[in-house]
């Protein structure tokens, strides 16, 4: 099926905006995606008509909001094909999901001398929580390296794993290189050695269909806002037995069964991990976003974005002095690049003046920058609402910047 891009673009009001008097070209999708009217309207509807704190409410509005929240959980469950509804925990986002797992999992399973493995291409969010936990537990953090194309050296994983290794935490797709990592292979290698796996899907749920049961992954985490949903909502999927064994992370309302000063008992899954008033409106927004994406079809989205990636890679590569960082065989629609003699910050600032939004800097992946011996890159990341004409605008914009630097 070919996507009707003009129709899709009309769903995203912000794409009609002008920036510095020019048509907005939004190529910062890996940082956050824009929101379709369907998501915004659904959230507004709840604020207008149904808002009330959820769970344990006896009145109409509370039930309405509770239903909305739990329906969103159901949508997420189906989206990633989780076996149980209560394996879906709502969090503030990927970062909070990882912190939750790192802390709670470590509390239960990690002790002095144990090991955690991450990769060299992780977002800081999938490094720092593990570093904190390792420091606290006197555990060791080990790293799977990647090659200069930006491909993980997965063959080294088996050697890295020892009988002290407890968990491997890797991303499905690298936010700054666009590499699609062989997650199934990683899970298989780890499981063969009795090691659990967390997959950071923050950069992949919006591009690729994920089936947690098929993967047999232990934990999957992602954010709503990169998936065309609102900010402030994210998901932690965890296998039921693990989540049941792990202790609560944050205490408060909702997560308790009974509170006594002599000892408190905790609620069942998923509520055990959802302390405080849940972010139900954003959860409802996330549900609407997933429905929107599924209506278009992830396969269609992926096919079109691959087309954009191929087109942009070819165009940008033809620019003199432009180098792309991240040339893995399997990539998603992310292009990190530098042009000889032009600082990424200068490039980003000048493209901005042309209405083109790209991200510059380290993209919260300093180890990747260290690998390549650079301070940062310019990153253009494409979504299914982007067009080849917009890529042409980027191409022409870069040429214009190059020209300004020659004079």
């Amino acid at each position: 099926m070919t996507l009707d891009i003009n129709k899709i673009r009309k769903d995203f009001p912000i794409l009609q905006e002008k920036v510095h008097g020019k048509d907005l070209v939004y190529f910062d999708n890996a940082a956050t995606s824009q929101k379709p009217t369907q998501v915004i309207d659904e959230m507004v509807k709840y604020y207008y008509k149904y808002n009330s704190n959820i769970h344990r409410g006896v009145h109409y509005l509370s039930n309405k909001s509770t239903d909305g929240n739990e329906n969103a959980r159901k949508i997420v469950q189906n989206f990633i094909n989780a076996e149980h509804l209560h394996e879906i925990i709502f969090t503030r986002g990927t970062t909070e999901s990882i912190n939750l797992v790192a802390n709670s999992f470590a509390e239960r399973y990690i002790g002095e001398g144990d090991e955690v493995i991450v990769s060299e291409m992780e977002h800081h969010s999938n490094i720092v929580p593990w570093q904190l936990v390792c420091e606290k537990k006197k555990a060791v953090l080990k790293v799977i390296p990647f090659n200069d194309n930006g491909e993980l050296l997965v063959d080294q994983l088996d050697e890295l794993i020892t009988d002290r290794t407890k968990i491997v935490a890797v991303n499905h797709i690298s936010n700054s290189l666009g590499t699609i990592n062989p997650v199934q292979k990683i899970i298989d290698i780890a499981h063969a050695r009795g090691v659990k796996v967390l997959v950071d899907a923050a950069q992949s749920v919006q591009h690729l269909k994920i089936d947690v049961q098929e993967w047999d992954v232990d934990f999957l985490v992602f954010s709503g806002h990169k998936l065309y949903g609102p900010t402030g909502i994210g998901v932690l999927y965890g296998k039921e037995d693990l989540l049941n064994e792990m202790p609560p992370w944050q205490g408060g309302g909702e997560m308790i069964k009974e509170v006594r000063f002599s000892g408190t008992t905790y609620n069942e899954l998923p509520f055990k991990f959802e302390a405080g008033t849940p972010n139900y409106i954003d959860a409802i927004g996330l549900g609407a976003a997933i429905e929107y994406v599924e209506n278009i079809g992830l396969e269609n989205i992926d096919a079109y974005e691959q087309e954009l990636l191929a087109y942009a890679t070819e165009k940008l590569s033809s620019i003199d002095g432009l180098k792309i960082y991240g040339t893995a065989e399997h990539k998603t629609s992310v292009i990190s690049f530098l042009v000889d003699g032009i600082h990424f910050y200068d490039m980003g600032m000048l493209l901005d003046q042309m209405g083109i939004a790209v991200r510059t800097g380290t993209h919260c992946t300093e180890p990747i920058m260290q690998h390549f011996g650079i301070d940062g890159t310019v990153r253009a990341s494409f979504s299914f609402y982007n067009t080849k004409e917009e890529i042409d605008a980027l191409y022409n914009g870069i040429l214009k910047v190059c020209k300004m630097f020659v004079h």
């Binding site: 600082h343 000048l350 510059t360 380290t362 300004m404």
Partner: protein, 159 residues
Amino acid sequence: MPSKSKEVEVTTLCLSIIREMTINEIQEEIIEEFAGFEDWMDKYAYLIELGTDLQGLDEQYQTDQNLIKGCQSKVWFNASLEEGKVKLEADSDAIIVKGIAALLIRVFNNQTPEDIMNADLNFIDEIGLKQHLSPTRSNGLVSMVKQIKMYGIAFNHVK
């Protein structure tokens, strides 16, 4: 563009021979200069030119101590006090940032610590570089201004 800036440079030079310009006079001059630019391209081309022309810092001064840490570009400032006047030098790995640093040097170089301390900086706003001033912007312009002011305070104390 180059001819215009050369003209300005000559004017600046002449003026400074007649008498030292005050911080506010220099700011006014910069604002006037920028008012002449027709679009953003001219403005940024000028900043690039300023950045390219600014003599950088010797590597020995590109130290962590002189580094103003912004998340995206590195900026170094070096300051000294000579005959009661503050001498400023700067460098950056990003040219536009270096151009902005050049403007700051033009405003603050050769001023007394006291004048630097008390300066009310309005030109950045006026020439449309305000977007670079918000504290979360990563080029460290806020930090640059703060650092220069700190030099002013420190040298005033020494004096």
